[in-house]
Amino acid sequence: MTAEGAPASGAPSAGSVSSAGSVSSAGSVSSAGPVASNGRLAGAPPARNWIAERRARSAVLLTLPTWVFLVPMFFLPLGVGIYLSFYDKTLGFPMEPSFVGLDNYRTDVLSPVFGEALVVTLLILALGLALQFPLGMALALLLHQQMRGRGVFRTAILVPMLLTPVAVGLMWRFMYNPELGIINWWLGVLGLPGVDWLGAPWPALFAVTFVDSWQALSLVVLMLTAGLASLPTSPEEAARVDGASGWQVFRHVTLPALMPVILVTLMIRVIDGFKIFDVVFILTRGGPGTATQTVSMLDYNVAFTFLATSRASAIGVVLMLITLPIYFLWRRVSTLAERS
């Protein structure tokens, strides 16, 4: 597939060609797919078939241990969650739960609290993406330049990525402290008024977003620099020779070629952004009020603060349903990424 794409995108008017290139390669894949596999099956000697069968049989055995883990610890709990969502179970309450039908869904999922949590989650997600991607793209392009000390800068930007969210979250909490925190002190130096970062609704939302994005930026820069490094340089050079400006080269050559990587990164961030929990738990526990109560935080609070297992299960089932379509998105994005 790469061999098909490379000469096409080497042509001068890069913008139109690269999009045409991806279309043609997509076409060729879908038409060539069944033919190739038929040809392989029909033309292969019987011994190969026998080996393939044996491989398939041992593959079933080799994946068995994974199923032994997934069935009781992933699928069983999900099933139990669905079951509990129709009952009225209270955490640690030994009484036999009674069937309540859709009551839990009516009281919790259709409540404004859940809607608000969904909005808060999407808001943090959207704000974060708006911060991470333009900034990440710019940094990746800067780090792509030939320069001394590039490795040092890249390393520095990469370091926050895998740090324990709980630990860094608490240190940010220290820095956000309105009286003693270093952030407000700096604002004071700049002549700006201090902000009650975690005590007021909007600042708290930004504070949570900022900590999450601080770590996520590392991932975005990492993915995009790796993507940039894997691009062939000839199309960019050809466009430059043809007199395209730096912005034109980026907009019409680099950006389209980088699109699969961008989409993969975007999907990872959407998944992890929707799951956001640790940082919220540590910084605000969803507060002040419900200003930063994301869906995960809400579900946790209902389950382990209000001890309403069944109501939390109903929320969980809805989150489960929201997660399911991600599978289709995932497949699309990953085939796109593999094709390029």
Partner: protein, 281 residues
Amino acid sequence: MARRAGGRSPLGSIGLYAVLTVTSAVMLFPIFWTVSTSIKDRVDTFRLPPVIVGFTPTWKNYSQLFEDPTFIRVMANTIIVTAGSTIVALLIGSLAAYALARAPRFRGRRPLEVSLILLRAMPGVVLVVPLYDVLAGVGLLGKMPMLIVLYAMVNLPFAIWIMTPYFQGIPMELEEAAVIDGASGAQVFRTVVFPLALPGVVATGLFVGLLAWNEFLLPVVLGSEATKTLPVFISGFVSARTLDWGPLAAASSLAIVPIALLTVVMQGRLVRGLSQGAVKG
């Protein structure tokens, strides 16, 4: 207005370095602040203007932590659950990764792929709420072995996705030669395939180990006082009436400094592992 390849005006160079220096400083400052707070005396911790450098370092916060038997237990728990779950995830995951790398189609391949993606994408609470109920019912709540297998399970998608390409990279001919020499399937895996994939397995182990080290939701909900891990211990500082920043910074430093160092040293491998493990359907 053609730009010479690699050519940059001096002003552009200064701008480039300025932007990258400021960004790097912002990215690293919280780490620096954590470590410096951990070696400050209580008086210096709250001094305004903040003391960036030039304070007298003290190990008091660390010695206070390590004099506490609870904390020793916490560190031991964290190491045990991290190491244990990583080994389990690698053992189980390498078998599945090998199958996915070698057999293009087999019974249950698609369901397995779907399950791994859903496990990766599902918010943890969705799983943890009913799990609490299930584990309480069978008396496995707050048990270390249970936590180890649960940690391993949630990290299986990453483990499998990162290892699969390594297995794909091993030439099929080597295996076939071993089979002709009379080796059984298990022998081929143990003596030919696994040793060749070992660098990949080790890299995967580091990555999965980091995730286990950071794991918070599982131990905080399904653990107990006896299984308390470092992230749970650190989160406990919040509920304390007065936040004791010195020891907290020391505990946080113990959590993040090893990861920061590992990230710097293992950069190349992490980059490769992450981009492979990021999306594999």
